[in-house]
Each structure stands twice: as structure tokens, then as C-alpha cells.
Amino acid sequence: MKIEANNITMIYPSGKKALQNITVKMESPSLIGILGPNGAGKTTLMKLIIAGLIPAKGEILLDGEPLLKQEKRLKAALGYLPQSFGLYDELPVWQFLEYMAALKGISNKKAIKDVLEQTNLSEQRKTRIGALSGGQRQRVGIAQALLGNTQLLILDEPTVGLDPEERVKFRNLFSEMAQDKIVLLSTHIVEDVQSICNRVLVINDGQIMFDGEPAALIAQTIGHVGVYVSQIGDKTPDGCQVVSKVNTAKGIQCRVVAKHLPSFAEAVEPTLEDAYLYCIDKGEDGR
């Protein structure tokens, strides 16, 4: 499967420009992480790709054909977990998944059994959804997205509400699934992207700030991340963004990203989180 979004601009009825002239190409197999602050345009991009929105300008192609002409084919191959969604509380887990399977045209009960096992919900299959915890509901959401022979898996904040152990399990599952399909993962958890994604898109203010391998994003941050020890009441140096503050015996050890590090800061190896913050910061400075 190949998806191309060419020069996409999306303007909401309120007049807000959610995306501005974005071009992205995705081809299976790939696991793409989308990072960006709230309101950056991540969810809008995902909705455009599932044909839930029509762009104001530009075109989206699915295997070279306009997406809107291939909506049925797209949806037959799509697994979608939105950021915010509802479930039928009155139905038990199994029945809800059977209902979703029917909507997806899947009659094979094994498919339901498989996703229940993958999402660790086998024991709760007869439990009413209304009686599940937040994390378990999220897993039901993931289970319905995984149902069937999906070629395109779009997951918007999939690990929200999951405990650390579950989060690790799921991100490994997404990584396995990406071996033969496109998995698009939008998240605020940079660690998830660093662990499994072979490509990262950084979006801010409706524009793509970075598109490439996580290592490349990190590489462009070398020399822009540093640490120094400050005391209570000290001001953050101009142009620096504090990533973390750790209380030590010598004082507060600050980790900062900056275009030009202060002379007293010692440059350190950047992480993807540093690189992401630097990328956003740099973009905002440039405007």
C-alpha cells in the first residue's frame, strides 16, 4: 500500500488553518511516529488519510488513485483508533468486537479471538464494556482497530491510560504489525516513537518540521543539548528551553536545549525528546 498526500491544506469551517501545504508519502512496510504539540494538526492529518475530512487544497492518493474514489478499498484495509472514541457500554467485549467485525465484513470468529489474545482481553470477553477500567476500554479500542486484515493501521494516542507494562507490550505489538503494513502512530510519548518507529514526522502549527529517521532528528540536535548546575532562584538563560531539572547535592542540574548553548553548559548526547523539543523550538524561532 502506498499513500501520498500532496500539498495538503486543511481549513476548518471556523477559519482555522489546521494544515498548510503538507506533502507526505508513506509506503508499507513502515511504522511512522507523528509527534507534535496539542493542536499541531496531527489528528487532522490522520482524519484526512482515512477520508474523514476533505482537504481544502491538494490531493491524497492511494496507490496512485484519488483517495475519495477508493474510499471503500481504503476502509476495508483500515484499522483506526481515534484519540477520543465511545463504545457500547451495554455490550460485552466479545459482542462489541463481533459487531465491529460485522461492520468490517469479517465473519471469522478466530479473528476476534486473536485480537482478544493480542490485547490481553480474553478473560474480559464476557464482561460488559461499561464495567471495564479506562485502560481496558483503551485495549478494546485497540482490539477493534486490529480486527481483520488491515493494511493501514492508524493509531491516535493508543497507549493513553495503559500501565507501563502494557505500553511496552503494545508498542512491541505495533512494531510486529508494521512488518507488512503502514502503521501511523500519533503520540505525545516520545519514548514510544524512539523505541519502535523507523520514521518520525514532527508537526507544529500545521506544518511538517521534520520528516525522517529518528536518528537523523537526534543527529541535527548534537551540540544543542547541554547540562549545567543552577541554584534556587537562578533564571533560565535566554534562548534555552529546560527539558528537565534534577535536585542534586551541588544544586539543581538543568538539562536544556538551545540554538546556542550558554558557555557554562556542558554539551551532552541528545535524546529523541531533546531533539523533538529543539525541532519545535527552532521552528517557532524561525517564524
Binding site: 476548518y12 469551517p13 482524519k47 482515512i50 477520508a51 474523514g52 475530512l53 476533505i54 471503500k72 476502509k75 476495508a76 483500515l78 483506526y80 481515534p82 477520543s84 472514541f85 465511545g86 463504545l87 457500547y88 451495554e90 455490550l91 459482542q95 463481533e98 459487531y99 465491529m100 460485522a102 461492520l103 468490517k104 465484513g105 465473519s107 479500542g141 477493534q144
Partner: protein
């Protein structure tokens, strides 16, 4: 679609709200039969087509309320949150909507069946009356046009704004207490009460069940209007689904 229908029926019919409303419908039907219909309508026997028509048109507002309640569940805020997921599936949205209309229609048929059984029990136990084929025309004239109109109006209203359901429910409830006469009486209660008085008495000692052309035209108009609203809703399904997303 049969599995989808199975779950739509499970969600709509096998729940405490529907069972409760069905019980209210049944109790109101029995009350109507034993307090009003037992005395007959417009000087006709309690088992005349006119009296039976009056029975159906009296219970119809409560049935409408139940139907509107069922429909409102498909347009609730909670349902819209689930639609974020269901709209990403390859199911044909028109067939999906028609499946849901079928689920509501099955609910309507279930209510009607219960109310007809109650009335059959009433006529047999009180009057030893068994000629139920005489009730076929009042059933067709009273129930079908009103149901199709409410279904069409409800779906159209739901697509505009969920709050409109509450307005329609209030109107439906108000029609239980308002006495409207004339051919365009929506449920027909006033018509069944007044029109027979203007008719000559036949050999049976009371006016035969024969409605006016104007009444028939009015019923046909309600039926066609209902079908028209249903068609408009169906045609707008795909377009509206995408517009909804724009508002998110």
C-alpha cells in the same frame, strides 16, 4: 447485515428502557380499552371498526413516544462518539442506516403485536368477539401512515439536531390530550369519533366502517411525506457523515 441487525435489535429491544416503555404501552392500552372503548365510539359497538380505530389512534401517541425514544439513541452524543469508530469501517452507510430503521420497525411491530394481543384478549373476554378481520382496515389506516411519517420525521430531525427529538416527544405526548377532528387528524382519534355520526346507519344497526376519500388522501399524504423525509435523510447520509467530521 443480519449480524448487525441482531446487535441493533439487542441494543434497542433487549434493554430495561424498552421493556419499561412496552409495559407502559400495554397498561395504557388496557386502560383505554376498559375505560373508553368498552362504551363504544360515536354510538357504535366497542368492537366496531370505528371503536377499534379509536383504540389504535389513542395508543398511537404513546407508541410514537417509544419509537422516538428508540430513534433518539441513534443520534445521541454517546452514539456519535461510537460513530467515530464505526464510520471508519467499510460498511455502506445507507445500508447501515436502513438496518437501523429495520431494528426500529421490528420494535414497532413488537409493540403493536403486544397491543393487538391485549385488545384480542379484551374483545374475547368481555364480548366473546372473534371476528378480528374486521379490524384490518383500521390497523392499516391508523398505524402505517403515522409510523412511516414519524420514522421519516424522526430521522430527519435527528440529522438536524438531537434536541428536536424532545420537541417531537412533547408534541406526541400533547396529542394524547388534544382532541383534533377532521380528515387531517394525524393519529385519527377525532376523526373516528366524529365522522361515523355523519354516516347513515346500516343494516347492522350502526354505520359501516367506511372512511371518506379525504381521510384516505390525508393518510396517503402522511405516508408519502414520511417516505419523502426518509429518502432525503438517506440521500444526505454520506455527505453529512463527512461534514460532521469537519466540525470535530
Amino acid at each position: 447485515m443480519s449480524k448487525i441487525l441482531k446487535y441493533e435489535l439487542k441494543r434497542q429491544i433487549f434493554n430495561k428502557f424498552f421493556i419499561g416503555l412496552l409495559a407502559i404501552n400495554g397498561l395504557y392500552a388496557w386502560y383505554t380499552l376498559t375505560s373508553d372503548i368498552i362504551a363504544g365510539t360515536a354510538y357504535t359497538a366497542p368492537f366496531s371498526g370505528w371503536s377499534f380505530g379509536t383504540y389504535l389512534s389513542t395508543v398511537m401517541p404513546i407508541i410514537s413516544l417509544t419509537i422516538l425514544f428508540m430513534m433518539s439513541r441513534y443520534f445521541s452524543k454517546k452514539e456519535k462518539q461510537v460513530q467515530v469508530i464505526t464510520s471508519a469501517t467499510p460498511v455502506d452507510p445507507i445500508r447501515f442506516m436502513l438496518t437501523r430503521c429495520t431494528a426500529i420497525t421490528v420494535g414497532f411491530i413488537l409493540i403493536i403485536t403486544v397491543l393487538l394481543i391485549i385488545s384480542a384478549y379484551f374483545y374475547i373476554s368481555f364480548f366473546k368477539y372473534y371476528n378480528f378481520t374486521a379490524f384490518l382496515l383500521p390497523i392499516i389506516y391508523t398505524l402505517i401512515p403515522s409510523y412511516v411519517f414519524i420514522l421519516g420525521l424522526g430521522i430527519l430531525a435527528g440529522r438536524v439536531h438531537q434536541g428536536l427529538f424532545y420537541v417531537l416527544m412533547l408534541v406526541s405526548l400533547a396529542l394524547c390530550f388534544v382532541h383534533i377532528s377532521g380528515a387531517f387528524d394525524f393519529f385519527g382519534r377525532g376523526y373516528y369519533n366524529n365522522y361515523p355520526i355523519t354516516l347513515p346507519v346500516s343494516a347492522g344497526g350502526e354505520p359501516a366502517f367506511s372512511v371518506s376519500d379525504k381521510f384516505l388522501l390525508a393518510r396517503l399524504a402522511y405516508l408519502l411525506l414520511g417516505l419523502g423525509m426518509l429518502t432525503v435523510s438517506i440521500q444526505s447520509v454520506k455527505r453529512k457523515a463527512r461534514r460532521d467530521s469537519l466540525r470535530i
